[in-house]
Amino acid sequence: MRWLDILRMRLRSLFQRDSVERELDEELRFHLDLQVQQNIAAGMQPAEAGSAALRQFGHPTQRQEECRDARRTRMIEDFFEDLRYALRGLRRDRFLAFAATATLAISIGANTTVFSMADSILIRPLPYPGADRVDWISERSGPVQEDIATAQDYYRIREQNRIFEEVAAFLPSTANRTGVAQPEQLDVASVSASFFRAMASEPLMGRYLAREEEGTKAPPVAVLSYAFWRNRLGSDPHILGKAIALDRRPYAVVGVMPQGFDFPRGAQIWMPLQMDEASERPIRANTMFRIVEIVARRRQRVTAQQADTEMQRLTFAIRADYPKVFASRGFRSDLSIAATPLQQHLTGQLRPALMMLSGAVGLVLLIACVNLANLLLARAGSRQRELAVRLALGSGRGRVIRQVLTESLVLALPCGLAGIAIAWIAVRALNAFKPSVLIAYPAIAMDPRVLVFTAALTFATAILFGMAPALSAARISIQEVLKAAGQTHSMGRSAARVRKLLVVAELGVSLVLLIGAGLLARSFLALAHTEIGFSTDHLLTFRTSQVGSTSFEGRARFYRNVLDEVKQIPLARSAALVSYMPFQDTFDRSGRVQVVGHEPIPFLQRPRADNTLVSAEFFQTLKVPLRSGRVFDARDSDQSAAAVVVNEAFASQILPGEDPLGRSIVFGPDRDRNTPWTIIGVVGNIRDGALGSPIRPEMYRCICQGLPFFGGWFVIRTAGDPRAAIRAVEARVRNFDRDQSIFDVKTMDERRDEALAPQRFQLLLIGIFAGIAILLATAGVYGVMSYLVARRTREIGIRVAMGARPADVLAMVMGESALLVVAAIISGLGGAWALTRYVRSMLFGVTELDASTFVLAPVALAMVVMVACLGPARRAVRVDPMTALREE
C-alpha cells in the first residue's frame, strides 16, 4: 500500500505543518549537536567546534528549505500563501476588485445567455432524425413574393425531383373538439401520408398514416401529439382504436407521436390531407388552387449545391406548365421554387435580431476584456516596485510569476462563478417568463461551449494582463526600479499610453453600441407612434369557427347569427365581422384592379389592391373615419348593386386626381363576365399589416351583399373594459351551439402591443448592453484619469507652486480627458458607420446613418465621460504644493 503511505505523508505535510516543521528542526539540531560533540572529541575548542559543525553542515535554513522541497507539497503551500496575500491585496484595492468582478461576471453572464439563446433557436438541430436533410419547399410568385405552394406543384415536385426521398404536403388548420364538456379549438395539421416519413419520426405507439388513408375517400383517422395525449386524454394506454370527436365527426386514433415532435409547430393532431389527386392534379383555369405547404427529405449526401441546381431545374419544368392554360394572364409565369433547410425556415424571423444581439453582446465582452486589462495594468504600476523588492530579497522569478498568476486567478475565479450564476438565472428567467417573441421557439438551454469560451476568454485576459507586471518584472533590472525609488508609478510613459489607448478603444466600442441602441430606440418610437387609422381602445376581438363547416351559405348564416347574438350583449356598443385582423401578418390577399372606363391594362401590369370582407358595422365599430361618400348600410343587400368602399391610398394611387365616388372597378382574373364594383365611399387608411409595413390600397366589400365569407374575426366595441365582456361572449356563442368554442380572444390593445413585442425585446436587450458598455467604459475612464492625475501629482504641485490657478489645473486634466473622448468619438463614429448597415432591416422610420442619433450619442458619451473625470479633476485641483513636493 505504498500509495496510501505516500498520501498519508502528503496530507501530514499539508495539514500538520507545524509539527512537521518542529520535527525537522529537532532532527537537524540533533545532527549538529552530534557533529559538535565529535569535533570536541577530536580536540577542538567548544566555540570552534560549533562553527566548524555549521560549516560542514551548511546554512540550516537553506537545508530546511531543501527538506521542505523534498515534501512535494511546496506548490500547494505556496499557493495558499499567495492566496492569502492576494486576498489581502484585493481587500486593499476594493474598487478594482469590485469593478473587475462586476465586469467579468456581467460579460460572461450576458454572453452566455445571448449565445445560448442563439444556439438554442438557430443552431441546435431540430429534434427529428437527420433534421438537416429536411427542406422547406417554398414557391414564390407575384410581386409581393409570397410563399405559396399549390397542390398542383406538390404533385409535380414529388414526381419530377431527383434528389428527395420523400416529399410531403401538409396544411395547418384548426378543428373543434366536440362531445366534451369544454369544447375547445385545436391546432391540427392535415398531412399527406408521406409526411411522417419525410420527418423520419417513428410514432411513440401505433402507426402513422398509411398511403391509402390519403385523399378524399380517406377514413377519419388521427395521430395525436404527445402533449395532447397526456394532457387531454390522461396518457390513456389503450387509446389506439378509440375515437375522438372533431367537428362532431369521430376520428379513430391510429398513433401517438413521441414527445418533442412538434411540426408544424403547435399541432395537436395530424389527420389525412383530403386531396383528390385526380381533380387537383391538372392545372385548369377554372379550378381553385389548393394552397399547401411542402417539406421534403433530401437523399443522403445530396449537397446544397445539388439541391439548388435541382430546384432551378424544377422551377423551369413546372413554370412551363402554366402558360399552356394561362397564356394571356401570365399567371405564375414568374414562379420560382426554392428549398431552404427547415430550421432556417422556422427561425428566419428571429435570425437577424439574434445575430444583432450576438454582435452587441460580443462588443460588450470586448469592452469588458479591455476594461479588465486596464484595471489590471493600473494595479501593475503600483506592483512594479514591490516585485522588484521581492526579487532583490531572493525570490525566484518563477516564484514571482506564480504569485501574480495566483492573484489573477483569485480575481477571475469568483467572477467566473458569478458569471455562470448570472447566465443560469437569466436563461431560467427567459424560459419562465417567455417573452412573446420567443414563445414559438424551443426552450433555451445553456450552451456549455459558450460558457467555456467566454469564461476562458475573460480568464485569459485576466491572466495575461495580470501577468504583465510579473513578466516585465522578470525582465527589468532590479536596480533600475529600486533606484527610481521616489517615483511611485514607475511604469512610465509607455504604460500610460497603452492605458489611454485601451480607454479610447473601450469608449469607441461603447459609442457603437450606444448608436445602435439609439437607432433601435428611434425605430421603436416611430413604430409605437405609427398612425393606426382607428382607435384600438375598448375593442374585444375573437374568432370562432363553425363546427362541421358546410356550404358557403351555411357558413354565412352561421357568422351572421353569431354576430346577431354578440350584439345582444349588454356591454357591446357595436360588433362587426372582418376577414382580416389588423396587426396580423398573413397571406397576400391582394388582387389586380382595373378601373372601368380607363384604358385596359394587361393583367400583369394592373395595380394591386388588398381585398377585405367586412360586415356593415365594421367602420363604425373600429371608428375608421369616413372621408367622402358613405359606408355600407341597410341599402346594401344581395339584391342591390355591387358596392365597394376604398381607402385613401386606393383613391390616391389608383384613381389619382379623380373623384373616386361612383367609379366602377373590376377585380381579380378576367372572366367572361366580371362584376363591376361601384365605389360608394372613401375611408381613412388603416395600417393593418405588420406595424412597419407600408400602407397599401385596400378595398372593402360587405358580406351583407351575400359574398362567401370563409372565416375571420369578430370585433366588439364595448362600454368599459373589453375583457369584462369575454364571459358574456362565450355564453352567447355556447348558447348558439353548445359544441362551439371561441379562441384567439384578445383586446385590440393587446394585439397592438404584441405587434411591438419583437422590437421591444430587441430594444430592451440592446439598451441593457449599451448601458453596461457605457458603465464599463466610464469606470475605465475614471480609473485612467485617476491614475494620470496621481502620476502627475508632483508636476501639478510644481505648477501650482509656480502660480498656476485651479482653473489652469482643471483645464489641464479636463483637456486630457477631452482628447481621449475626441479620439474615442472619431473611432466610434467610424465603427458605427461601418456596422449600422447590418441593422438596416430592423430599422423603421430612421436610416442607419440617422443624423440626430449620430450627433446625440457622442454628446451623451462625452457628457458621461466628463462627469466621470470630475473626481480625478477635483483631486488635481486640490493638490497642495507643499504636500505634493514633500511626498516624494
Binding site: 503511505d5 505516500i6 502528503r10 505535510s13 529537532e26 532532527e27 537537524l28 545532527h31 531543501e66
Partner: protein, 108 residues
C-alpha cells in the same frame, strides 16, 4: 590520503537504502556508516543527506520513527519499508549493470 570522492549523482539514494537494510538508524549514523563502510573513500555531503532522506520518506521507501538515541536524546530513526526493499533490489541491479558496463569499458 586523497580527498574523499563526491558521490555520483543519484547514488546517495542507493547508499542510504543499503545502509538502512542492515538496521534502522538516524541521519548522523547513516552518514558515519557510509563513510566507514567505504573505507573513508565516500563522504556524504551532510547538507544533501537530509533532503535525500526526506525525499525517500516521501516516496514511502523509508519510514521514520522517533526513538531514544545512545545518549538518551530523542532522535529520528529511519527504517526500510517493504517498498524500499524492492527499490533497493532494483537500484542495486541497475547499479551493477552500470558499474559493470563502465568497468568493461575502462578495462578494455
Amino acid at each position: 590520503m586523497s580527498r574523499p570522492t563526491d558521490l555520483v549523482q543519484g547514488t546517495l539514494d542507493l547508499l542510504i537504502l543499503k545502509t538502512l537494510a542492515l538496521e534502522p538508524m538516524h541521519g548522523w549514523a547513516i552518514a558515519q556508516r557510509i563513510q566507514q563502510l567505504s573505507n573513508e573513500v565516500l563522504q556524504v555531503q551532510q547538507g544533501s543527506l537530509y533532503p535525500a532522506l526526506h525525499r525517500l520518506e516521501q516516496q514511502a521507501w523509508i519510514r521514520a520513527e522517533w526513538g531514544e538515541s545512545d545518549n538518551n536524546r530523542r532522535a529520528k530513526y529511519y527504517s526500510l519499508t517493504r517498498a524500499g526493499r524492492r527499490q533497493l533490489e532494483h537500484e542495486t541491479d541497475s547499479w551493477e549493470r552500470l558499474s559493470g558496463a563502465i568497468s568493461a569499458i575502462v578495462r578494455a
